[in-house]
Symmetry: C2
Subunit: 117 residues, 2 copies
DNA sequence: GTGATACTGAAGCTGATGCTTAACCATGCA
DNA sequence: TGCATGGTTAAGCATCAGCTTCAGTATCAC
């Protein structure tokens, strides 16, 4: 399980459109730093800063061979972010279901709801 | 489908720990503004700014009855963020699978890989 | 060794973000 | 009518995020 701080970094990493573009790109295959930088309208150091953040967040790993650093996605971190969102949505929908059930019951009985506030 | 800008706002909204705490809280049921603010170590206006951002992002909706504004989760927006992450992870894993298949084939044949860079 | 390529480090600028305080408005209630 | 409650607005401030440029270092090809 991703701890609080790590989840924090992961969400923060994904908040930036450039970094999401990088993740999207990397989902199609590992890429070198300058390869990732080429289509982006910014300097190489700027891209490196994004990559550093992605790596600190655990979403991306990289390894250097010779002078080329190759970056790739870390699917585990990605799936843990996914899990967090899913859990919140699932909990909400579970509640709605229970409320639905309760309201159905009431139709055959009587009383007060207390709703969902 | 969530457009680019909306997805952007949603990810940005979730980047902040306070806002994620609010979403987490709301997943257990709708809440009023001051109710949400109570456990948070900040002023009410600060919480309102977070809520405004969450609402602009589409993750949260709210309605005012009398003087009380009640906030609730918008599961659709949440699931679209979830979908984005899932798609990236799925794509990466699909690639890994194909690469695995290819490598298996090679073991029964011969040639060059071209790997995943 | 020389030059090109690929990346790295550091400093600095600018606008956005997250907060604060100090008002203020609207509703509920005695 | 007057006071408490719940929310809202506006202004200001400190910090941070994202970018730039400039100046490196390491590797590779010749």
């Amino acid at each position: 399980m991703l701890n609080h701080a790590a989840l924090d970094r992961a969400f923060q990493a994904l908040a930036d459109p450039t970094r999401r573009a990088i993740v999207e790109r990397l989902s199609h295959g590992a890429r070198s730093v300058s390869d990732l930088a080429r289509p982006l309208a910014m300097s190489l150091p700027a891209v490196m800063q994004h990559l550093a953040l992605l790596e600190r967040s655990g979403l991306v790993t990289s390894a250097k061979v010779g002078r080329v650093r190759t970056c790739r996605i870390e699917p585990k971190a990605l799936s843990q972010v996914e899990a967090w969102i899913h859990a919140r949505r699932a909990e909400w929908e579970r509640r709605l279901d229970r409320l639905g059930d309760y309201l159905s019951e009431l139709q055959a009985g009587g009383g007060d709801v207390g709703a969902d506030g």
